[in-house]
């Protein structure tokens, strides 16, 4: 009972019998036959739907990951062979290393850009300007990642792209963006961060606005410089937001697919192939459903681990006011 909204006003969340009311509040609390029927009927679409399209599939995926199956011939039990592919198959191994590398670079970049801009927007600006900047940085979030990647593929085209045109006028020469491994990886990171930094930005803006002005002003009066105030006052008070923002950014980055699929198809070579791309290719191009499932299970474990880490860290290191 304690975990479910203790301060909630709806009757069902009050511990029965412990309330000050002498009589139990039958109208809303105790499940009568009618209320039980409502509960069953109203929950059915969600519970059955999630059961059929999430619970059963995840169990099926776990089962499938121990088999070799191409839909046409009968499934063959192969033990942990599909998981061994993660280490032994160069493409699968590369895709996981790419994904982790991508997550590390993209998440750090996204958080730094978002936090920097949030601090600037939150600092002494007229209210209307704050609203304008907030809308601008939020805007890319409403676009389709696939369409954005189409546009960016034109912009980063080595010969005709606007990005190289600008670099040429600056005398920086032509950058082989999408035709070399490092160039393509850089484009995927930039396109991803361009579209997603606004999400972390919104979280930071919320976190910053909940820090009382007096705290910052008090330390300013004590003679702390802006840099020291940010490091020693703002950042610790922002740590709950920082933790949540980094975990959410990591979970979303681990699942990257649209941008590399549209921009590079994983190439050149395997340089921008990600874990989800290999799930897609294994299953729907090579008909290796077992291997696709194994990769998916490992990815889920990583995501669950990141989430669990968030809960542990938030208990130990985060400063709550």
């Amino acid at each position: 009972m304690t975990t479910l909204g203790t301060a909630a006003p709806l009757a069902a969340d009050r511990p029965a019998g412990t309330s000050a009311d002498p009589a139990p509040r039958t109208p809303t609390g105790t499940p009568t036959a009618g209320r039980r029927l409502v509960a069953a009927l109203f929950l059915a679409p969600t519970v059955l739907g999630l059961g059929i399209f999430t619970f059963v599939p995840i169990l099926a995926s776990i089962g499938l990951s121990f088999f070799r199956w191409d839909v046409i011939t009968a499934p063959e039990f192969v033990g942990l062979a599909n998981f061994a592919d993660l280490v032994t198959d160069p493409t699968v191994r590369r895709s996981f290393l790419n994904t982790f590398g991508f997550v590390a670079v993209a998440v750090v970049l996204q958080l730094v850009v978002a936090l920097g801009l949030a601090v600037l927007v939150q600092s002494r600006l007229p209210g209307w300007l704050r609203v304008v900047f907030r809308s601008v940085f939020f805007f890319p979030l409403i676009l389709s990642a696939a369409s954005v990647s189409l546009v960016m593929a034109y912009l980063f085209n080595e010969d005709f792209g606007a990005v190289n045109a600008v670099l040429r006028t600056l005398g920086l020469g032509d950058v082989p963006w999408l035709t070399t491994g490092p160039g393509a990886a850089a484009v995927v990171v930039m396109v991803y961060v361009w579209q997603n930094f606004g999400f972390s930005f919104l979280l930071f803006l919320g976190g910053l606005s909940s820090i009382p002005k007096e705290v910052d002003e008090a330390s300013a009066i004590d003679g702390a410089t802006a840099g020291r105030r940010f490091r020693l006052v703002t950042l610790p008070l922002l740590s709950p937001t920082l933790l949540v923002a980094s975990v959410m950014a990591m979970i979303s980055a681990l699942q990257i697919f649209d941008q590399p699929y549209v921009l590079t198809r994983g190439g050149p070579g395997d340089t921008t192939r990600t874990a989800v791309m290999v799930i897609y290719e294994s299953a729907f191009q090579q008909l290796q459903f077992g291997r696709a499932s194994a990769i998916g299970i490992v990815l889920t474990c990583v995501i669950v681990a990141v989430t669990a880490l968030q809960f542990r860290l938030s208990r130990r290191y985060v400063h709550y006011q």
Partner: protein, 283 residues
């Protein structure tokens, strides 16, 4: 006087030359970030409106690329598919999330915590991991390569249910009690008392669903095959693949057209969208 200066409120200090320079530098950085954010969007619109003629290379400003996009692909059908899929996902999620959220907030039954916990747990499972079995299920149901393949699995929403539960927890219990005393059954109590009050919460669920499904690419790529069942993002990627680099403006005209509904929702529903997107952070 100098000793007192730091004690003055922040806005008074902004008038000193150093502080003014600081404000100017901050604005400059923000304007640069704005240019980098909006630059690609502006370029897209401008390029769509200034197609180059094939062969001669002459620039012909106008809407010819927008006409082309309807000629090159059945753009009207893509658009209609997107409207259908997104619309039904939005409506389905709003209704089922409101119903389930209400029960989880207002009706005490044995195993409620277990059900709620299980619903929350599904939020951790990435959709890409369940896609192989979902693909099989859809095939088994005889729905592969139909729009229903995109809609049906997308209606139940764990996050929407979570949001609606929180929303109903914030509504006063007295309303339901008053309705019960007036003789309203549990169905009427929900439909005539609580559901209308929950509309703002349902709007958040709906706008989030719109933003997700209008833009989605991965599921359509797997669950639909024929171009007549594609929705916009997949259709545009296919169009670009078919045209090569020849007709940049045509593809970009399609991108611009597909952005318009998203832009409308952004303008009228930015606040609920913002609240919905960041709601996951405060759980």
């Amino acid at each position: 006087m100098t000793a007192l200066a730091p004690a003055l409120p922040a806005r008074h200090r902004a008038t000193t030359p150093v502080a003014a320079a600081g404000t100017a530098a901050r604005l400059l950085v923000l304007l640069l970030a704005t240019a980098l954010t909006l630059g690609p969007v502006v370029w897209t619109v401008v390029t769509a409106l200034t197609p180059t003629e094939e062969g001669t290379g002459a620039v012909r400003p106008g809407f010819s690329a927008f006409v082309d996009v309807f000629a090159q692909v059945d753009f009207a059908l893509l658009f209609l598919n997107s409207v259908l899929v997104t619309g039904l996902c939005v409506a389905g999620q709003m209704i089922t999330a409101a119903m389930a959220g209400y029960v989880l907030a207002a009706i005490d039954f044995r195993g409620r915590q277990l059900v709620f916990g299980a619903i929350l747990a599904t939020m951790m499972v990435p959709m890409q991991v369940t896609i192989v079995p979902v693909f099989m299920l859809i095939r088994g149901m005889g729905l592969s390569d139909t729009l229903l393949a995109l809609i049906l699995p997308a209606v139940p929403t764990a996050f929407g249910t979570f949001l609606m539960r929180q929303y109903f927890l914030g509504l006063p219990v007295e309303l339901g009690e008053a309705a019960s005393i007036d003789g309203a059954g549990p169905f009427r109590t929900f439909f005539s008392v609580y559901a209308p009050l929950a509309l703002p919460g349902m709007a958040i669920v709906g706008i989030l669903a719109f933003n997700y499904h209008w833009n989605e690419f991965f599921r359509p790529l797997i669950l639909t095959i024929s171009e007549q069942n594609h929705i916009l993002p997949l259709g545009l990627v296919t169009l670009q693949g078919n045209l090569g680099t020849g007709s940049v403006s045509t593809v970009l005209a399609g991108v611009v057209l597909s952005m318009i509904p998203a832009l409308v929702v952004f303008v009228i529903g930015q606040r609920p969208l913002r609240e919905g997107l960041t709601a996951g952070a405060s759980k």
